[in-house]
């Protein structure tokens, strides 16, 4: 993606090219394919209708993602608090057990579960295959844990907003975010950093 959008046709072509990325993101976040489709559609329409306010294509992706994030936030708010995010599912419990198993009784790393050196981040981020694994690991997180994590990381809510939006206590919020990060970390360690580049 380089150069400038010279004409509306260029703009539309680029936008359409982003659609798979947008859809994947929305579907990871919402875990509802139909809703994801609707939200992406709305975001693309909004982008098209406000094209004039956009200048320069280098940040087109960032700009469209910002629009999409707003649409997703609206969708989450509309869906409301019907979801009981604080309930601990069997999947959550098994993530917690996998975490506990990393430590000796004195809460220090056990010899074979010490975190590995993941090498050069830039190098990893440039490998196409890495993203497949990363997305698979995100999808593999328990639904509610993923929802909290993605609101924080992808929709860039403050932690306080995440907690308030989902009616969670602050400490529960922190526990869930820690569970998500560690779950991702263990998934990547097992599926990428041991079988990948190293």
């Amino acid at each position: 993606m380089s150069g400038l959008a010279k004409s509306p046709v260029d703009f539309e072509t680029t936008l359409v090219g982003l659609r798979p990325d947008l859809y994947r993101f929305a579907s990871l976040q919402l875990r509802d394919d139909q809703l994801a489709d609707d939200v992406v559609q709305e975001a693309m329409m909004a982008a098209l209708s406000s094209e004039l306010s956009f200048s320069g294509r280098s940040s087109l992706k960032t700009w469209v993602f910002a629009i999409l994030r707003n649409k997703i936030v609206d969708a989450i708010r509309q869906r409301g608090r019907a979801i009981n995010v604080s309930a601990l599912t069997a999947e959550d419990q098994s993530l917690d057990q996998a975490f506990e198993a990393l430590f000796k009784p004195n809460d220090r790393w056990s010899a074979d579960s010490k975190p590995n050196d993941w090498g050069d981040p830039e190098d990893t981020l440039h490998q196409q295959q890495f993203w497949t694994v990363f997305e698979a690991c995100l999808k593999h997180l328990p639904e509610n844990t993923a929802r909290v994590f993605m609101m924080r990381e992808f929709l860039e809510f403050d932690t306080a907003e995440v907690c308030a939006e989902l009616s969670l206590t602050t400490s529960n919020c922190h526990v869930i975010l820690h569970r998500a990060r560690n779950g991702l970390r263990q998934c990547l360690e097992q599926n990428w950093f041991t079988t990948g580049e190293h």
Binding site: K114, N116, W118, L125, E153, T159, H174, L177, L188
Partner: protein, 64 residues
């Protein structure tokens, strides 16, 4: 002295809230001595970075 398990929680929370001075000090003492936790820190920073990249916000990681 913080345990490694406690350190993983503080490292995660440091991405979501500002740690108190005492917490930061205990954390840095532990990290200076513990390779496992230092790597853990790098790993979850990497995850944050990957998330930023996924939403089209590439950023400079120099100094991390």
């Amino acid at each position: 002295m913080l345990s490694c398990k406690e350190v993983t929680h503080l490292l995660s929370e440091s991405q979501d809230r500002k740690l108190a001075l005492g917490e930061r000090m205990r954390l840095s003492i532990h990290l200076a001595m513990c390779k496992g936790c230092s790597r853990y820190r790098k790993q979850i920073q990497f995850i944050h970075r990957a998330c930023q990249e996924l939403i089209g916000k590439p950023q400079d990681v120099s100094g991390r």
